[in-house]
């Protein structure tokens, strides 16, 4: 058998992850209102958003526990889209 079915996380893990997602969202909403954070606001928001993204993909979508091949099918699209469209926007000098 391939390493298809590792122990999936329990319901408790899911609740904790959801708590984390809620807290991060609250922080995200707060960030624009805190003037002291203005210089790093964009970076901070992107980091916080990426953290939520990564957690949902890794735990809720089981990518951390499932076949490695699934990572490839998804990440090739995700990484490809980021690179290709970064080039498009750069060529428009949109940044």
């Amino acid at each position: 058998m391939a390493t298809a079915t590792h122990a999936h996380p329990t319901a408790k893990t899911y609740w904790l992850i959801a708590l984390f997602l809620g807290v991060v969202t609250a922080v995200e909403v707060a960030v624009p209102y805190i003037d002291a954070l203005d210089p790093i606001r964009a970076v901070l928001l992107i980091l916080l958003g990426s953290a939520k993204f990564a957690v949902v993909v890794a735990v809720f979508m089981h990518l951390r526990y499932d076949l490695k091949a699934y990572r490839f099918y998804f990440l090739i699209g995700l990484a490809g889209a980021i690179v290709v469209f970064a080039v498009v926007l750069a060529s428009f000098r949109a940044f």
């Binding site: 969202t25 949902v56 699209g77």
Partner: protein
């Protein structure tokens, strides 16, 4: 050519054909494809984020309201994963409750989106106000369409399960719909950051 002839079968891998693996492979490939679909629309929005003509721009966003609906969609991912968990354990009764919860949260999100769109139109932002308006409505509209399709799929799952016709091996199972639903959620995570928070 001689060496190729000498390959022994030590690298036999599991090429068995469990139906779940086949379907999940297809679903993940489809989600990779969807990344390019939303990538193109997000880029269009970023290109036009300041092209507002005479109409309103990002200043009309109501961040507290959108944060609330983002939270609703995030929590629908929790109920979805709990539904999946119940179905994996064979507890369809409990699973159905979570499925219905997910569908309701999705519907709440859609209702919020409709409310938001109506507000924006009142404030003078339509699809033909400016390229900003066109790209905003297209991106969030197609995302909303994905949520609506998700709600339809969830309802079908509940229906099949109630009629006793649900089996993990049937054409559409909870695990696949869950993958799709979570993907729609992570697209919103990106939209919330890129379209809303970064533009105010």
């Amino acid at each position: 050519m001689v060496s190729e002839g000498a390959v022994v079968d030590h690298d036999f891998e599991d090429t068995g054909n469990p139906i779940h693996r086949v379907r999940k492979t297809a679903m993940w490939a489809f989600l990779g494809s969807e990344a390019f679909f939303f990538g193109a629309m997000i880029s269009t929005f970023l290109l036009y984020r300041n092209t507002i003509g005479d109409g309103p721009g990002a200043d009309i966003f109501n961040i507290p309201f959108t944060s609330a609906s983002s939270f609703v969609l995030l929590m629908s991912s929790l109920t979805m994963v709990l539904a999946d968990n119940s179905f994996q354990k064979g507890d369809q009764r409990q699973g159905r409750v979570w499925l219905i919860g997910t569908a309701l949260l999705g519907t709440t999100f859609l209702a919020g989106q409709i409310f938001e769109f109506t507000e924006f139109v009142h404030e003078g932002l339509t699809i033909s106000t400016s390229p900003f308006g066109s790209s905003f409505y297209m991106l969030t509209g197609f995302h909303g369409l994905h949520v609506a399709v998700g709600v339809l799929l969830l309802s079908m799952l509940v229906f099949f399960s109630l009629r006793g016709r649900y089996s993990p091996d049937s054409g559409m199972n909870v695990e696949l719909v869950a993958l799709y639903w979570h993907f729609v959620d992570i697209v919103w995570i990106v939209i919330f950051t890129v379209v809303y928070l970064l533009q105010i």
